[in-house]
């Protein structure tokens, strides 16, 4: 899939933002006053900024409100609702924290749940697509949730919880890659199922429908080199997990945390870049692209 920067930024940033909102909602930490404001500002700008980036992916953003209508069937629509809900509840919760110094626990809990639901919905936009075998696994929502929580926890400064979450992130991420690498081959979709041809022999694309490119090829048939991939995976893991663990085990001071967050985010962005660019859409089969390349 084409790794659109709007989507990479959206999923990475809003993920962390909602992760942080989750922790704030459940009271981990439970800052008050100015500190609360700062935390909320960070969380909200990540979440809202991410969502805003997402609208760049829309070719007709002026109609974006229509996206709220199909919550019964569409994860994107649900995401929109959950996001708005989460931001709303957390805003109320935040007003309590900042201006009144009170944590209305129930509101925070609802906000936290909605934040998680938002990240889950985002992940399900991808995870629900049968057309992208690499994504079509419960590991997709797990990975998104784990990364969101991990990022949130680093900012929230949750110490050991963060370290544990980082480890879980590493495990989930590696599991995701390992599973993903065979997902396409394991899906039942082959050139024979796609075309009905090749039952007697080996079918292959002879010529594409057009010698020129098209929307489908640009959007879905994105190829990354294998060598490239292992380097990027290493970089992603190192930045997303390795560096933060190293830094945070040394100290949890503000600067260390800041560097850890930035490194983590860079790692997440790389992970997301790989998430998109490595994902192969089954339509590629029609264009002669197979999972083994």
């Amino acid at each position: 899939m084409y790794p659109a920067s709007s989507l990479i930024i959206f999923t990475s940033f809003s993920g962390i933002g909602f992760g942080l909102l989750f922790f704030l909602g459940v009271g981990l930490p439970a800052p008050k006053g100015m500190l609360a404001l700062i935390f909320l500002l960070i969380a909200n700008s990540l979440a809202v900024g991410g969502l805003f980036a997402a609208t760049y992916h829309l070719r007709r953003p002026e109609r974006a409100l229509k996206a709220f209508t199909q919550w019964k069937t569409s994860w994107l629509s649900r995401e929109a609702w959950f996001a708005v809900g989460a931001l709303l509840f957390m805003a109320i919760y935040g007003i309590g924290l900042v201006f009144f110094g009170v944590a209305v626990g129930l509101v925070g809990m609802v906000g936290a749940l909605l934040s998680i639901a938002t990240v889950y919905s985002t992940s399900m936009i991808y995870g629900d697509l049968k057309t992208v075998p690499r994504w079509n696994t419960p590991l997709t929502p797990i990975l998104f949730l784990v990364i969101a929580l991990t990022g949130g926890s680093i900012i929230a400064g949750l110490g050991e919880i963060t370290l544990i979450l980082l480890l879980i992130t590493a495990i989930t991420q590696v599991a995701y890659w390992v599973k993903g690498d065979t997902a396409f081959a394991k899906s039942e979709t082959t050139i024979t199922s796609a075309t009905g041809l090749g039952k007697e022999g080996i079918a292959r694309l002879f010529s594409p429908p057009h010698t020129s490119s098209n929307y489908l090829l640009k959007e879905f048939v994105y190829i990354v080199g294998r060598k490239h991939v292992s380097k990027l995976r290493f970089a992603s893991l190192a930045m997303m997990v390795g560096v933060p663990i190293a830094l945070l085990s040394v100290s949890v001071n503000l600067w260390f945390s800041l560097v850890a967050v930035i490194c983590h985010l860079v790692g997440v962005v790389i992970s997301r870049w790989l998430f998109f660019s490595q994902a192969e859409h089954v339509v590629g089969i029609y264009y002669g692209h197979r999972s083994d390349c």
């Binding site: 199909q70 002879f206 010529s207 429908p209 057009h210 010698t211 020129s212």
Partner: protein, 934 residues
């Protein structure tokens, strides 16, 4: 519960439909042009049209993009930079016509042969040739010489008509259909419609083609023949069926020259004093002219005269073909087809022809007066095109195929192959070539025609060629369509003579329609010692900014097909059906938005200015205001004009007076005219008096012209005899051997010439091109929709060769012939004859042309094989450079090409010698959302 919106499912489709004829190829389908506010909104097929019956191909539907193409020329152009630079100045029509007149008038007055007027694939040849004839130059032809003259002439000489658009398989009844060397053909929609009819009925389709795409891909059986060996394969089929006696003796006796007696000494046909071929009547044993009432010609007839025993054509034919050299086992290796496969096909043909006979209860009378109560059909049919004809052995191969058809008794019968009026027509009633030049006056007759022996050759009294293209000379005696591909080369070399002005119409002669493109560009731009161009003047008519435009001095910009009148005339290439006669028109369904004029109308005006007899009134004024005026008012012979429909008072068909409302009536009728052949007259046409009389009534003949199919082609024998030293018109010495060996009167096979001239070990591969169905030669490439489908053309390489050369998909190779080499991208194909490489034809473009970006894929990856094909073969030690053409007809031997491939790291084409041409029309827009309605 769904989110359904209310939808208008009955939107207005258009303001108006105008019915005219497509021009995106030579198939000439009927189209419904939907207009909104006077603009073209949508084009679809005309359901009532005899050719396409409503369907339309990709090019036809994309016509809308042809009309709004940015490459369209805008006004007449005068060259201001050097030739080839593309630097022009737009001028007025008055100035353009004055320049043209200024060039042409002195030529006509002094030496008309100094004008060479050659036209491309337009079908106004009966008009353009009339103009050229009136001008008085012998140097006129259309593009047939480089296209498919082998097919056309072999057909006309043998059966009085040909494949192509001159005849068709009986799609409704045939049970086995073999298609040789066809990718698309002129009759493209009818072939597709026909194939689908065969599929519906479960008839067997066998494709003989080194490449399995398109029609060949859907065939039940694919014969991956070695290019150039079809003749061997066909003769092996003949051998096998002959050996088994599975031939139609009755048909051969009655309708062919099989029973005609051959003079044992000369090999000429025995004739009576009226020139009629003689046969022995089976009953009486007497000698009679073949058409004597009541006789039954004896295939085994013999005639003893002055001690010499004359036997039949059939006797020679059987003797020749029973020889084991023609057997399946012998030809299997060279053709690449196993002997078992050849026999299987022969057996299938025999079975279907003779066990699955069709009988129709039509009564009809043959030309010997015999009445028949039924028509017997042999449901085997064939179609073939350039795959067999564009070889240097193409004429004989095409003839061989017709002989096979005839032996099976399958021509002009139900289920077989049927001709479309005005065919069948014996070759003897076609004109012969005319070339007598008298300054200031017309030529003595039509330029092109059918020769029947050395006496008909277009040679001057000193024996040199009368025509610039050397058509109808000893090098290619039966070149009925001329040799457009030799014109530039011959004019440049002054061989046979120098000319003054080249006048081309609608042929991209500096690019895809020339052999040796690079060389041609040099010839067009080369200057003599005085700094003057070796070819002094070039006038060209095109509608678009093609590669050729840059090489002319004066450009006459044409309208597009939706903006002009045209006629698809029976005097030209027919659109009839086997059961009906038909012709059609084009008319301006939209108005041109620029200063362009229909080329034929321009010729009407030029003809008037030059005072050509057919183009002026008695008072010397211009006779035809425009082409439409000519179409309606020109009278070829009393009662006969360009269009056969709605003559006289508007109800006469075929013959009739000029009808001033004729054009309107065509328009009212959907742009065409059809008239059915009466029931019972529609089969056995050459021998069926019902048909013959109908054809006379329709003006196709002046009197009934029954004739025999020519298994034995006597004119060939006459040329052979001349080469053997008989007669006073003698070929030059160096041609004797070749004439003797190639011009056999009963079809033979010989290896394609290029194989003899280049070392097959060095150049082991055959290189072919195919027509893409969604692209028309060079001018489909400017079409915004079509160029997305075919914007590049890889060289397809067989899996075997891929392995052998260690190639993978996406590699580039150096592709070389004895003539040159180019670097091209490749793609793998396994449904391909192992020793063949191929590519789509005419995709490659010259930078700067067609209003495309200079780095468009057509110029960076698209390529032409033409750079590797020369009009002359490499020298072979005899000191001559032989023409790369069929020795009988002069047909360009495009598909004889032999090449080698070498892997290269170079991932780019070597285009250093093709500079960018300055575009006379600018560049196309960056975005296109063509919607004319709101």
């Amino acid at each position: 519960m769904t989110n359904q919106t209310c939808l208008n499912t009955s939107p207005k489709v258009s303001d108006e439909i105008r019915k005219t004829t497509c021009y995106m190829c030579a198939c000439r389908c009927g189209i419904d042009v939907h207009l909104k506010e006077g603009k073209v909104a949508y084009i679809e097929g005309n359901r009532d049209h005899p050719v396409n019956k409503g369907v339309l191909c990709a090019k036809g539907s994309a016509g809308i993009m042809q009309v709004n193409a940015p490459s369209r020329l805008r006004a007449p152009l005068k060259r201001v930079g050097p030739r080839g630079s593309g630097k022009f100045e737009e001028i007025s029509w008055e100035e353009a016509l004055e320049i043209a007149e200024g060039l042409l008038r002195p030529i006509r007055d002094q030496n008309p042969e100094k004008l060479a007027f050659f036209t491309g694939r337009d079908q106004s040849q009966s008009f353009t040739s009339l103009w050229a004839q009136d001008f008085g130059t012998p140097n006129y032809a259309a593009h047939g010489g480089f296209c498919s003259v082998n097919m056309a002439t072999a057909g006309i000489y043998t059966i009085g008509g040909s494949f192509w658009e001159f005849g068709q398989p009986d799609w409704e009844n045939t049970k086995i259909f073999i298609i040789f060397g066809v990718a698309e053909d002129h009759d493209s929609n009818p072939i597709k419609i026909g194939l689908s009819r065969l599929k519906e009925r479960g008839s067997k389709i066998i494709a003989v083609n080194p490449i399995r795409t398109g029609y060949n891909a859907i065939a039940d059986e694919w014969i991956a023949i070695t290019p150039g060996t079809d003749g061997q394969f066909i003769l092996a089929l003949i051998h096998e069926i002959l050996k088994a006696g599975k031939i139609d003796l009755d048909y051969l006796s009655r309708y062919t020259n099989a029973p005609v007696l051959l003079n044992a000494e000369t090999g000429l046909l025995l004739r009576d004093k009226d020139g009629k071929e003689l046969v022995v009547d089976k009953e009486s044993g007497d000698l009679h002219p073949f058409d004597r009432k009541g006789i039954y010609p004896d295939l085994a007839g013999e005639h003893l005269e002055s001690g010499m025993l004359h036997r039949t054509v059939f006797h020679s034919l059987v003797d020749q073909y029973l020889s084991p050299e023609f057997s399946a086992d012998v030809v299997s290796e060279s053709t690449g087809i196993s002997a078992g496969k050849i026999r299987a096909i022969a057996s299938e043909l025999a079975k279907v022809a003779f066990e699955e006979t069709i009988e129709l209860p039509h009564s009809w009378t043959d030309f010997r007066g015999e009445e028949h109560t039924k028509i017997i059909g042999r449901p085997v049919s064939f179609h073939a095109m350039r795959g067999i004809s564009a070889h240097s052995n193409g004429f004989q191969t095409c003839r061989a195929l017709h002989v096979l058809q005839i032996l099976l008794g399958s021509v002009e019968v139900p289920g077989g192959f049927r001709l479309k009026p005005p065919y069948p027509k014996p070759s003897t009633i076609h004109p012969k070539p005319h070339f007598k030049v008298s300054p200031g006056s017309p030529l003595d007759g039509p330029h092109l025609g059918f020769v029947h022996g050395p006496d008909d050759l277009a040679l001057k009294s000193d024996g040199t060629p009368a025509r610039i293209d050397k058509a109808f000379t000893w090098e290619n005696p039966m070149s009925a369509h001329g040799l457009m591909h030799m014109v530039i080369s011959n004019a440049y070399h002054g061989d046979p003579y120098k000319i003054d002005t080249l006048f081309f119409y609608m042929a991209n002669m500096s690019w895809n329609s020339s052999m040796n493109t690079r060389g041609v560009l040099k010839m067009l731009t080369d200057v003599d010692r005085n700094g003057k161009y070796v070819i002094p003047n070039i006038i060209y008519s095109d509608a678009y900014s093609s590669e050729m435009v840059a090489y002319a001095d004066l450009i006459l910009p044409d309208t597009t097909y939706l903006e002009r009148y045209d006629c698809i005339s029976l005097l030209d290439r027919p659109i009839s059906e086997a059961d009906a006669i038909a012709d059609a028109i084009r008319w301006p369904v939209i108005k041109p938005d620029r200063d362009v004029r229909g080329f034929q109308s321009v010729l009407c005006e030029l003809g008037g200015r030059l005072e050509l007899p057919n183009f002026i009134n008695e008072d010397g004024t211009q006779r035809y205001t425009d082409y439409a005026d000519y179409i309606v008012n020109h009278v070829r012979k009393p009662g006969i004009g360009p269009l056969a429909g709605f003559r006289g008072t508007g109800t006469s068909a075929g013959r009739g007076d000029v009808n001033p409302r004729q054009m309107d009536q065509y328009i009212e009728n959907g742009g065409f005219f059809v008239e059915k052949i009466p029931f019972g007259a529609n089969y056995y046409k050459p021998w069926n008096m019902g048909y013959q009389e109908w054809a006379v009534k329709m003006g196709l003949y002046d009197s009934p012209k029954p004739y025999l199919f020519q298994l034995y082609l006597e004119p060939l024998r006459k040329f052979q005899r001349a080469a053997e030293g008989y007669g006073d018109r003698q070929p030059p010495e160096h041609l004797r051997k070749r004439i003797k060996s190639t011009m056999a009167p009963i079809p033979i096979w010989y290896p394609p010439f290029e194989g003899e001239h280049v070392d097959p070990a060095e150049y082991p591969l055959h290189a072919l091109t195919q027509r893409p169905m969604a692209m028309y030669h060079s001018w489909g490439g400017q079409n915004a929709w079509l160029r997305q489908i075919h914007g590049t053309n890889p060289l397809y390489v067989s899996s075997t060769q891929m392995k052998k050369h260690d190639l993978v998909q996406g590699d580039w190779v150096k592709l070389s012939s004895a003539h040159g080499s180019i670097v091209v991208p490749i793609a793998e194909m396994s449904a391909l004859n192992e020793d063949t490489v191929w590519t789509w034809n005419a995709i490659g473009k010259r930078k700067g042309t067609w209003a495309l970006d200079v780095d468009s894929p057509e110029t960076t990856k698209g390529f032409l094989l033409n750079h590797l094909i020369s009009e002359l073969l490499p020298q072979k030690g005899d000191g001559y450079r032989w023409m790369n053409s069929d020795p009988i007809t002069g047909q360009a031997a495009w598909f004889d090409l032999r090449v080698k491939i070498e892997k290269t790291e170079l991932q780019k084409m070597d285009d250093t010698s093709f500079e960018i041409i300055e575009s006379p029309v600018g560049k196309g827009p960056d975005n296109l959302s063509w919607k004319v309605g709101k």
